[in-house]
Point group: C2
Chain length 412, copies 2
């Protein structure tokens, strides 16, 4: 069975928007064992859209489109559908009523243009839109399933999970798709591959993919088949063996981000955290507070970009900076200790480094980063030797800091 | 002339990677007047790849692919090219020599597998890869141009700008494409559209696109034609009129980010800045320090996530928090003043708000954010009323703070 995704909108074809809708849908389809065979994008042009729809119908059984369902002139997906399936647009009184209620609830009067959204292709079924006014459209024709969803990511995502996936699961029948994601930090892809090679013989019918990012390498173990227990067992054999081999290099299983892993550990252990950031300028604090409820364990800290702030507020001894430099193990430790004392946190973490592109020396080239970790009575450090890209160096520094906190919390 | 982009890789089809390569290429192609007619993605599968290549050659004159040029088994783009164009892979001694030199320079021995990269399709021309070992491949066949580039974004981007775009420009002939981007902050798309409508009559042969994001709405004025002066004049007439109409709502022209606009203004005026962040937890400092050289004007600040830090380190009077709450105009102003005093900056900016999803009340619902701005002798504030999404609220709060700093620096 071939599944195909078509994303619609001029903003994709002229490079003004990254197509995150296709990625989201592809991930959801892969998860239920209907991986996309093709993904394509087409502009707000009725002829080209029809050309794309015809092509997709000629080669795939399931076609999912996003975008072009809004009320304005450049939203042409419904016209494209009518053209390709030779159907008319029919006015749906009950849809208009629902639209009016939606606007009223928000204390608004519906603009006349939105009446268009009650015009829908003949013989279609609809998918509910919890966050917006454009319904999803489902057409079944000669055993093909054609489904159009809005392009607003929030609306499309909710509709996919609540409406589309259950619908598609009926078509998949008894095909089962299972994945386990082991997330690692601090080890290179090639090193992991070398370690894992001996257990790959246990991977019959199961695939392993490496997915590197600045946060580390995710290992994705996937299996597919018709008997759920067998697929699960196959995935588990390989995933468990890899987990045993790699041990603490794996910081979590599943799709939890490192800041959440650290947050959960802090909450569990009833500890509080503060940060002292130099080259990352607040990035780590920004990540930690991305999670609702982070005030349970995160107190705040100091952005010590300027060396005066390191001295005056984090109480880093001037001699330390003079003798070892602001980018040094000694300074990192003093910064972490300083923020622990200043805000009274159980744990303090610091980052100081040369993010680049300027500021490097022979002894401390661009990419040299020191991370400090302190409690009220102890301080340790870790040195990272990163590359030349400022943005990536800063992100890797935050990942290194989170990993250092995690290792401390699990007792290493 | 139809231009088509094909991105190759299983990671795109299973939703593990967002396809930023397609977006980058689409933007570059649009810029030189060769906008993409279709964009599609295909997995690491020789049959499907050949199917995609045949289709593209049947409907487009220029085909650009990315991905699948690495040395390992799952890199199959060269095989796909050979299949579709009926060519053989030829061993290139001089390419192998270059590869060896590249590895030697980095003090490495070339792994044997990389020898594959000296095998290249017969009759192809090559594009230099400054950052990696896979050359770009260009095939010209029956007046079609087929070009394959590596999928590593850094390598692909450099190759596009240095090699591909100059090559394509030769084919475009005298077609000129000009765009001006006016970036606005603090006004809704519908409000801008209403204001701009009267001058749209001057837009003959020129298009205007609205591109909203959390940072505001970008207005993209584009023109295309054969006489450069005429196209430029057409674009300028519309862009200048819009600029006059909107005034200070436009924070910059071009592709500079708000933190750079603010940074340039601070540098110009010789002023320093410090931040006091509550609900954004360091996000604003993280953005400001994303720019190399930001230490010229950015000193650092305090992440006052916990109210004790607002009191103890930013010297916000306890009565202020008791009487008005930590999310209030009074607290925002006191935080901004506190950080100015603490670190001795010329300007202090603060953010305090209810990012959500929890913590809202009837009086101060989720999305209520106060921004404070202070010098040593004055403090002002701005209130934002945002939505329910924590991530977007935090980003919009940073955008609001940057805009407030900018307005202050230009004297409003």
């Amino acid at each position: 069975m071939r599944t195909e995704i078509i994303t619609i909108g001029d903003e994709l074809l002229n490079g003004m928007r990254v197509d995150t809708n296709a990625t989201f849908l592809a991930e959801r389809l892969d998860r239920i064992g209907l991986p996309a065979t093709f993904i394509s994008s087409v502009g707000d042009d009725i002829e080209r859209m029809a050309e794309s729809f015809h092509l997709a119908l000629s080669r795939s059984e399931i076609i999912i489109t996003t975008g072009g369902l809004g009320p304005t002139d450049d939203d042409m997906t419904k016209k494209g559908i009518c053209k390709v399936f030779k159907r008319n647009l029919i006015f749906h009184e009950e849809v208009l009523d629902q639209l009016n209620i939606r606007f009223e609830k928000r204390g608004l009067t519906m603009p006349p243009i939105n009446q268009n959204q009650a015009l829908l292709p003949q013989g279609a079924k609809f998918l509910d839109n919890r966050f917006g006014s454009a319904l999803g459209i489902v057409i079944t024709d000669r055993n093909k399933l054609f489904c159009s969803m809005p392009g607003v990511p929030r609306e499309m995502r909710e509709m996919t999970d609540a409406e589309l996936i259950p619908l598609l699961k009926q078509r998949v029948g008894n095909l089962v798709s299972i994945r386990r994601v082991l997330r690692t930090s601090g080890a290179m892809e090639s090193v992991l591959a070398e370690k894992i090679r001996p257990v790959l013989k246990f991977a019959e019918g199961v695939s392993l993919a490496y997915l590197p990012s600045y946060r580390g390498v995710d290992l994705v173990v996937k299996g597919r088949g018709t008997i759920a227990e067998e697929v699960q067992a196959g995935v588990d054999i390989l995933a468990d063996r890899i987990a045993n081999l790699l041990g603490d290099v794996i910081y979590t299983e599943g799709e939890i981000e490192p800041e959440e892993v650290v947050g959960n550990l802090l909450r569990e252990k009833g500890k509080t955290l503060a940060v002292a950031e130099s080259c990352t300028g607040g990035l780590l604090g920004g990540m930690l507070t991305n999670l609702p409820g982070s005030s349970d364990y995160f107190l705040g800290g100091v952005i010590a970009y300027d060396d005066n702030i390191k001295r005056d507020h984090l109480a880093v001894p001037p001699e330390t900076i003079e003798r070892f430099g602001a980018v040094s193990a000694e300074c990192a430790k003093a910064m972490a200790q300083g923020v622990v004392r200043l805000v009274g946190a159980d744990l303090g973490v610091s980052i100081t480094g040369i993010a680049g592109p300027g500021g490097g020396t022979d002894e401390k080239p661009v990419g040299t980063v020191f991370i400090g970790l302190a409690t009220s009575d102890r301080a340790v450090h870790k040195k990272l030797t990163l590359g030349s890209d400022r943005t990536i160096n800063r992100l890797k520094a935050t990942a290194g800091a989170l990993e250092m906190i995690r290792q401390a919390l699990i007792g290493n």
